[in-house]
């Protein structure tokens, strides 16, 4: 049974209808989108940390610690041999997880078996989906209790067949918009995205940056004007202060490398929880 479908303290049951929030005519939101909309409606800024599945023996405890520290949803990476959207930190995490013989199945088993309490999205590259087959992977994600999928090398024009299978299986497909995405294209992307819109904050691969890129605020502003879907900025969100700055425009943030760097340094579930709690406090202040 889905760990993500358990009720988080103080939250509505993910997947239950949230009165009034969906755009008329749009599909009924899935577990992730409903949960994020409800949290936003309650005044919260949304925090979605990323953890590489299979990184260390204790990665499931890391996921649980992150959830307990105040994350609204969590992105779990299924490591891939050739992650072209990722910078050195996530690359290193992927290499370590693959060396420990991490497979998509083992990551999904880890998610399925754990009490997590918030919706889980998996992030991976499309070849791992293509190898299994769209339909089989969508079914496996659903069976593991995964609410959504993020596939950064599957842009809008190529996403059709996967999205059809994911929709049928009840898995939300989160699409990405980039600073180079023009207005008409952005409109088509937000219309097809489910769960939330992943607004890529800068032109570049994942990794920490010293300052908030101007492009992060710009894409967040454009996306907010284009959709009622929750808009989360990811790539380059490194510190609680940066997250807070971005959330003055965006609905929330995805935080990856800053957290994974701490895991690579051996900080474990406790360190991960501390960092996410710090982020939470900054967003709630």
């Amino acid at each position: 049974m889905s760990a993500a479908a358990e009720t988080a303290p103080g939250s509505p049951v993910p997947g239950s209808p949230v009165p009034g929030s969906p755009v008329p005519g749009s599909p009924v939101p899935g577990a992730l989108e409903a949960h994020l909309r409800a949290r936003r409606a309650a005044g919260a800024k949304l925090l979605v940390p990323y953890v590489t599945g299979g990184l260390g023996d204790d990665w499931v405890e890391v996921v649980q610690a992150v959830a307990a520290a105040g994350a609204d949803a969590i992105e779990v990476g299924i490591p891939f041999s050739d992650p072209v959207m990722d910078g050195p930190v996530i690359q290193e995490a992927s290499v370590r997880a693959l060396r420990a013989r991490t497979t998509p199945r083992r990551v999904l088993q880890g998610i399925a078996a754990a009490e997590i309490g918030i919706p889980v999205a998996v992030m991976t590259y499309y070849n791992l989906v293509a190898r299994a087959g769209d339909r089989r992977m969508a079914a496996e994600l659903h069976a593991a209790g995964v609410a959504a999928a993020i596939l950064p090398d599957l842009p809008l024009e190529e996403a059709g067949p996967w999205c059809a299978e994911a929709d049928a299986a009840g898995v939300e497909t989160v699409l990405l918009a980039a600073p180079t995405t023009d207005g008409p294209r952005l409109a088509r992307i937000v219309a097809r995205s489910r769960g939330f819109l992943y607004a890529v904050g800068l032109l570049g691969v994942t990794g920490e940056r010293e300052h908030v890129a101007r492009s992060a605020l710009e894409i967040a502003r454009r996306a907010k004007a284009a959709t009622d879907l929750p808009v989360l900025v990811g790539v380059g969100v490194s510190t609680p202060a940066q997250a807070e700055e971005i959330c003055r425009v965006a609905d929330g943030v995805v935080v990856g490398s800053a957290l994974v760097r701490r895991l690579l340094a051996g900080e474990g579930p406790e360190g991960a929880g501390r960092f996410v709690a710090e982020m939470r406090r900054a967003l709630d202040a």
Binding site: F80, S81, D82, P83, V84, M85, D86, G87, Q91, V95, L98, T103, P104, R105, Y126, N127, L128, V129, A130, R131, A132, P152, D153, L154, P155, L156, E157, E158, L175, L176, A177, A178, P179, T180, T181, D182, R185, I189, V200, L202, L203, G204, V205
Partner: protein
Amino acid sequence: MVVTGQPMGAPDPGGRFGGFGGRFVPESLVPACLELETAFAAAWADRSFRDRLDGLLADYAGRPTPLTACTRLSAQLGVNVVLKREDLTHTGSHKINNVLGQALLAERMGKHRVIAETGAGQHGVATATAAALLGLECVVYMGEVDVERQALNVFRMQLLGAQVRPVTSGSRTLKDAVNEALREWVGSVETTHYCIGSVMGPHPYPYLVRELQRVVGEEAREQYRGLSGGEDPDVVVACVGGGSNAAGTFAGFVATRAELVGVEAAGGAAVGRGVPGVVHGMRSLFLQDEVGQVLEAESISAGLDYPGIGPEHAHLAEIGRARYESVGDDEVLGAFRLLAETEGILPALEPAHALAWVVRAAGNGTLRPGANVLVTLSGRGDKDVQQVREMLS
């Protein structure tokens, strides 16, 4: 030109050759691919662009390259071998045909910086050359393993003013150089053109690079007809890593009765041992494990050390218009020496794969005695002399 729907015509609007191809890149890169697609279509239809490119190919790169009938080699093998001499171009390989076109496109799009991946270094050298010629900034990504085994080409690129960035991730060869170039392009896309070296990557690259290499096949076809009184060869052979010299060669012969044979390295045989997947922006055939992790290719030839193949080759294999064979390192070394000793030509290790298949096929009767075989000699062997010396000692 072959019309859409025929083998080696234009791909469909989504960049598909049959079920292969497409544009599987991060959203940040999609607008740049669309821009390149539009710019290439306009340039290719623009007489002044074509004239400028043809002028450079003639006066700078040394086209047309000759056909050489191999008298002594043919006598020894019992089949008639003719070579298309891309080794005689400026910079010593067919790569120059592609980079001159892409450098002109970069200039036309207002991008003054180019990046490239390279395996053996031939594409890196060619890109650095074109960048120097047109005054563009140039950065080349090269796997650390290849930086070591092709040290001379690294120095050559540096002399041409390019910056060579060794890639230390993964297998530290061509696959990882492509990864790193893609990563950099995600960040620099607004000012930089990614000059992909083969018929691979997201649409429009596989199509664009094949069209820029088409000159190899079209010249060869006309030259061969001149040589033979209007006949076409029975078999046309080229080596395949990503497959650009093969694609350019095949494009010239696809409408003839010639049998088309692509030769892969046994350690990187994407058609022979690969399965469909989506890597480096394209749906094609890749060496990968049962869950989809990409495997590392292994070959003595850095230029063929790639676990995938261009999508159009996957399509040609699927429809049976071309077939793909693979040869082992020992056969390649044997063919390298044979061509040197019988014809006085040192081939690059990459086209030595194509020759090695001809030697094998002539020996086992796959090629009938007296068959007329055209082989694209895609590059010269100077860069490989040191490596061959070590392997033979």
